[in-house]
Subunit: 211 residues, 2 copies
Amino acid sequence: MRYHKIPDETIQRLPLYWRALRLLSENRSHVNSKVLAEIVQVNPWQIRKDLSYFGGFGTPGVGYDIKKLSCQLRDILNLKNTHKTALVGVGDLGSALLGYSGFSQLGFEIVSAFDVSTKKVGKIKNNVNVEDISKLKTLKRKGIRLAIIAVPVKAAQETADKLVRAGVVGILNFTPSYLVVPKTVKVISIDIAMDIARLPYYLPTNRAGKT
Amino acid sequence: MRYHKIPDETIQRLPLYWRALRLLSENRSHVNSKVLAEIVQVNPWQIRKDLSYFGGFGTPGVGYDIKKLSCQLRDILNLKNTHKTALVGVGDLGSALLGYSGFSQLGFEIVSAFDVSTKKVGKIKNNVNVEDISKLKTLKRKGIRLAIIAVPVKAAQETADKLVRAGVVGILNFTPSYLVVPKTVKVISIDIAMDIARLPYYLPTNRAGKT
């Protein structure tokens, strides 16, 4: 099934809806946008608008069919199959990501890990063999199209270049670098510092930002 | 100076603008929304709208005064002073956060760390002494109002409850839990799984979500 182009902001919220629906499906068959909104902390009108992009219309008084909507979201997000993923950088953060169960629950499997340190290369972490960074080019042959970058910031762009050359088309970037990649490659950046940076705004002692 | 209430979505983008402006300030005095937009990957009209909330109007043909705007953003975000922060959970992720330089660059200083494991308590990591979780109540006395939760998901709500009792008013939550806290406490959640979940949508092989 094909859908009209969905805005990035909507795509960003779809995984939240999908996870909430999977939880709800254990106890009920339908849900309205108000209940869903409370769980995912998004406005009900925003949810209705987001879902309308692909014809996810609820029945008035009944709400959305959880099972049906959940399948649609999974198809749109392309989460039906397992996605083999590579990890570059096996420091503290990389190690945390290797042990993170949230990925496998969504069908992401970290099957390859790379580092530059001779202390790490050859070790097995969470059932994954850590290889030397020079082996990145093997990704194409292994059919790995997604990668996670958890290297120091100064190595970020170089790592991205190597991944692109190795045929990777989707990158989850944990460095604060803005990565330059071809248009055919999608980068999603997680910048923890930018998230904590908005926390002090909400402190009760902050009078600058509030009326 | 007081401003009208700024929407959460705008507050979310202000740190991005602020960081970009700090980088730009090294080479120039003014910037227009188009150039800023390219750096932060946000629409120019969105930037103009966001900045208009607190009177951050650029001069036509000249753009925004980088130094002035940067100071305003810092004040609104309440990032003028250092913020002492506690970390709960010193596993792989917690260790990565302790060593993460991005926090200190923004004025966040992790000064206390807590864990339940007797193997970790008493150790010193990145100059921070890891204390037993039972010592959380000392936070109030130490004037620590912000905390980072990096514990296993099943311990997340209990940890949040303890932090709230210890006087914490801002929490950065790294677990996929939805934390229930009093309205006076702000929780910002970072859910890595939800970020990777939208990556397969953009894969060239995905035909479900695209026209």
